[in-house]
């Protein structure tokens, strides 16, 4: 059985033809199934006596072949045949070569419904013709882990690195994006490749249009598709009072978080739509839940902007099988915490109900869940991975 096609891929003008030579067995089987044992269809002599060339094939058998094409080819599996008109124009006979032609003449996106011209020709002459109306039911597309391609921005270290490793462990192909420091990304890719993972590192600054577009293009060139985008890249977080900041500094966060996520979506969502499957996961922060910590205004505002974008994308992309979600980690044990004293880390962890900091692979596990087939109905959600710090 062929896969159901995403509705968005069905276009006016698309047509298919299916050919078949009519046999005695076809007609006998249809008579047995329908109970239409009219001698016109079963008795060759009777048909000839009434001026026909031989036993006449049931008109509705030809209609059934239209059903076959609608249900298997165009629009294909998942179609709900709402209405059909048929005009019977000439008889078809056993031995005739028929061609069933179906063509889309109208697409109603709001109704998920198509209007199609349908015709069956027998030996090149139209035997029946008419118009079909058909709704396309929503189907859930799935992608096995070992066929999945995941792109992780800021993917060489820290939370991003853990997310890359988690995808790789499931057998997915991974695109490791980095901005400046190639060495950690190349080292991670080399390690993953040595264990049989398809991986590539792409240097690009997603805060610029050129960088985001280059990343998307090179990822598609490397693997032919991207199923998952994890927007994790961040500029260096510089804590300072808002009034001590210049807008250009604040804008750097916006361009990286919201700008990067938007531009990658613009470049990659069209091909996700065509496949009816896509996952976008944005890495946010618990700092944007409730009252934010002081001197983090630029960071918190831009992450909050990305959350707004997450919800807007979730609504717009949901009809196409594309989910958009977020994870909000609290303090995560990554390299950046190495410089923090043990006492301060301990004090911080005691503020968290779970009494410990998060491990990067715990954040990655939530991202993996949201990227997987089991989370097809989860979209527009923001999951704290925070040990109870925010709720």
């Amino acid at each position: 059985m062929p896969d159901a096609r995403p509705f968005v891929t069905l276009r006016v003008g698309e047509r298919v033809t299916w050919s078949h030579t009519l046999t005695d067995d076809d007609v006998d089987a249809f008579a047995a199934l329908s109970g239409d044992v009219n001698p016109l269809h079963l008795d060759d002599r009777f048909a000839r006596q009434n001026g026909f060339r031989g036993r006449v094939v049931h008109g509705m058998l030809l209609g059934a072949y239209v059903s076959r094409v609608l249900g298997t080819t165009l629009p294909g599996p998942g179609v709900l045949w709402l209405a059909q008109s048929f005009k019977f124009q000439r008889a078809a006979y056993v031995g005739d070569r028929i061609e069933v032609e179906v063509a889309i003449t109208h697409v109603s996106e709001a109704l998920r419904t198509l209007v199609l011209d349908t015709a069956v020709r027998a030996n090149g002459v139209v035997a029946i013709s008419g118009e079909a109306k058909a709704m396309i039911l929503q189907t859930v597309q799935t992608v096995p882990w070992d066929e999945m391609v995941a792109l992780v921005t800021g993917g060489s270290r820290g939370i991003g690195g853990a997310i890359v490793r988690a995808f790789a462990e499931r057998g997915a192909s991974v695109v490791v994006n980095y901005r400046e420091r190639a060495e950690p990304a190349q080292a991670l890719v080399a390690e993953l490749r040595s264990s049989g993972v398809r991986a590539t590192a792409i240097g690009a600054d997603v805060s610029t249009a050129e960088g985001a577009e280059t990343l998307a293009r090179e990822a598609l060139e490397a693997f032919g598709r991207v199923d998952v985008v994890v927007n994790n890249a961040t500029p260096l977080i510089d804590r300072k009072p808002l009034l001590d900041s210049e807008w250009d500094e604040i804008d750097t966060y916006w361009r990286t978080y919201a700008g990067g996520a938007f531009r990658l979506a613009k470049a990659l969502v069209p091909s996700m739509r065509e496949r009816g499957f896509g996952r976008i996961v944005n890495v946010l922060t618990t700092a944007m839940w409730g009252a934010p910590p002081p001197e983090n205004g630029a960071y918190v505002a831009a992450k909050s902007g990305l959350w707004g974008l997450t919800k807007a994308m979730a609504v717009e992309f949901a009809p196409y099988g594309i989910t958009v979600n977020a994870v909000s980690p609290s303090a995560v044990m990554t390299e950046q915490w190495d410089a923090v004293s043990d006492n301060r880390r301990r004090a911080l962890s005691l503020r968290i109900p779970a009494q410990r900091l998060a491990a990067a692979d715990e954040v990655a596990a939530t991202v993996l869940h949201l990227a997987g087939n089991d989370a097809a109905y989860v979209t527009g959600a923001n999951f704290p991975v925070a040990g109870g710090e925010v709720m």
């Binding site: 709402l82 209405a83 109208h106 109603s108 996106e109 709001a110 109704l111 419904t113 209007v115 109306k133 709704m135």
Partner: protein
């Protein structure tokens, strides 16, 4: 009600145009069910050249509402 809309309603609900009441709606026409609604919306797109969205489709549940919509949006 305008004649072209009355004709479309009559086609969809399998009635004669004279049988379509001026206050035709999901409340007054017994066979204006969800399937007929879908057929009706498709007929509006095909016959009047409008492009409906889902929100609009949910609101067009009376001849009066459809007429008002067509006045504003007909190509």
């Amino acid at each position: 009600m305008r004649d072209d809309l009355r004709r479309v309603l009559a086609d969809v609900f399998e009635l004669s145009p004279a049988e379509i009441p001026d206050d035709a709606s999901t409340e007054t026409l017994a066979n204006w069910d969800s399937l007929r609604q879908l057929e009706l919306m498709l007929a509006l797109e095909l016959d009047f050249g409008v492009r409906l969205d889902t929100e609009t489709m949910l609101e067009l549940t009376s001849a009066e509402a459809i007429e008002a919509y067509l006045e504003q949006h007909r190509a």
